[in-house]
Every structure is written in structure tokens, then in C-alpha cells.
């Protein structure tokens, strides 16, 4: 995620990844960024652009989903992740 946050110039996400989620706004931003990252993976894949050595990194998304959902749930923001997923 840090790679994509840097690639997409998402400095606020870099901060969240570094410092952790402290507010519901952080949880919302991180949740939405996961979907932005998936969209960017599609763009990179279509352009045949290797990222971290591979053109298709979509098989790491189940891990991202698992870790973000678990992390936000433990922080008390699981409902935000669920809502963002439903809306995305």
C-alpha cells in the first residue's frame, strides 16, 4: 500500500500508514484508498507496467482486504470498511 500511496501522491495515506488510524476520517480515507489502489492496479496491468516486479499484483488484494478489515475492526472502525466496500 505504501508503494501505491507514494505512486499516487497520497501523502495523507502515507501518514496514516505510518502513524495508524486514530479517527473515523482516517478509517474512511484508508478504506477508500484500498479501492483507489485496486483501480491503479488495473491501470498498471492494462499498460503492462511492472510494479514491484510484476504486471499483475491483484492476488495480493485478498491479503490487503484481510489486513485492513481486521485492523479497522480492532480499532473500532469495521463498520466504515464494510460501508465503503458496499459503496465501491
Amino acid at each position: 500500500m505504501l508503494h501505491y500511496a507514494k505512486q499516487l501522491g497520497a501523502q495523507d495515506v502515507e501518514r496514516i500508514l505510518d502513524a495508524g488510524v486514530d479517527t473515523s476520517a482516517d478509517a474512511e480515507r484508508l478504506s477508500k484508498f484500498v479501492w483507489t489502489m485496486a483501480d491503479q492496479m488495473a491501470v498498471d496491468s492494462r499498460a503492462n507496467t511492472p510494479v514491484m516486479g510484476r504486471v499483475d499484483n491483484s492476488d495480493m488484494l485478498p491479503d490487503v482486504d484481510y489486513e485492513v478489515a481486521l485492523y479497522l475492526s480492532k480499532r473500532g472502525y469495521g463498520d466504515i470498511w464494510d460501508r465503503v466496500c458496499d459503496e465501491s
Binding site: 479501492w35 492496479m41 488495473a42 496491468s45 499483475d56 491483484s58 484481510y66 470498511w81 466496500c85
Partner: protein, 158 residues
């Protein structure tokens, strides 16, 4: 052999999943193996013989896999758990994602078991219950894959 089920929308997929009592399922990009990964040479998702080092507990020499009831290939047992993973992969893969499923109570190799994740409801690990050579785990995972059924994206936009 189970027929291949097809779905045209996320609602279709949800309804099919709802009918599969006692199942565990995982989304797989079309063309990929349902239980083994393409080789990755380095990083967190590095593989050994198609098995990711982050999924199982390997011995230091990476010749053996050790039992751990909270490590293994990931599966979902609920629509809620499966949905976000499926949607994310579809976004990144242009919807070319199928769902492979098997009954939790299905015959498995005697040294493997589905175990529920203690941290996340609806998430299961396909664990090893005895120390085994990596080559044996590969054989086991191929065995499981051969017994999985497919719910195939019919190609319509979600």
C-alpha cells in the same frame, strides 16, 4: 463432478453462495491455479514451489511446512467475507475473477484441515496438521484443487 455454475451479477453470485451451506470459497483470477501461486522470487509474497511463504509456517531451510492452526490458504465461509475480496479483485482484474468452492466437510488429505480464523468471522485457513515436506503440501493442494467446484463469471459487467 459438480457442474460449473455461472453468474451474471453480484446479486446472482450472492444468491448462489447463500445456497451453498457449509462451503468455503476463494476468488481466483481466471487462468490462475485455485490453490497454488505463480512463482515470486522475493518480497513478502515470495513463493516456494507455488506456495507463498506468508501463508504457511516454513522451516528455516524452507524444505518443510510446520503445523499452525492459524496459518494456511485463505477461504471465506460467508458472503460478507467473500464479497469485498471478490469485488476488489474484480476491480483490479477487469472482472475476470471466478470463485472456487469446496465443502468444509469434504474429504481432505489426512494431514490438512479447515480451521476458522480466531480473529475474523467467516474467514478460514486451510491448515497443515502435521509437519510435511513442501512437495507433499504441493501435492495436497493440487488434490484439493481437483475437488473444488467453480462459480464462473459469465462475463457481464458487475
Amino acid at each position: 463432478m459438480e457442474p460449473i455454475l455461472h453468474f451474471k451479477s453480484l446479486t446472482d453470485l450472492r444468491d448462489i453462495i447463500a445456497e451453498l451451506e457449509g462451503y468455503v470459497a476463494r476468488p481466483v483470477a481466471r487462468g490462475r491455479h485455485p490453490t497454488l501461486y505463480e512463482e515470486v522470487g522475493d518480497g513478502r509474497y515470495r513463493t516456494v514451489m507455488g506456495i507463498r511463504i506468508c501463508d504457511y509456517r516454513f522451516s528455516q531451510d524452507e524444505q518443510w511446512v510446520l503445523p499452525d492452526d492459524q496459518m494456511g490458504l485463505s477461504f471465506s465461509s460467508t458472503w460478507k467475507n467473500l464479497k469485498s475480496v471478490y469485488k476488489l479483485m474484480s476491480r483490479a482484474r477487469g472482472a475476470r475473477v471466478d470463485v472456487y468452492w469446496v465443502l468444509q466437510g469434504a474429504d481432505l488429505p489426512s494431514d490438512m484441515a479447515f480451521v476458522e480464523d480466531r480473529q475474523r468471522a467467516g474467514h478460514y485457513f486451510l491448515t497443515v496438521t502435521k509437519t510435511m515436506k513442501v512437495s507433499k503440501l504441493v501435492e495436497n493442494l493440487r488434490w484439493v484443487a481437483d475437488r473444488m467446484s467453480t462459480i464462473r463469471d459469465a462475463g457481464c459487467a458487475l
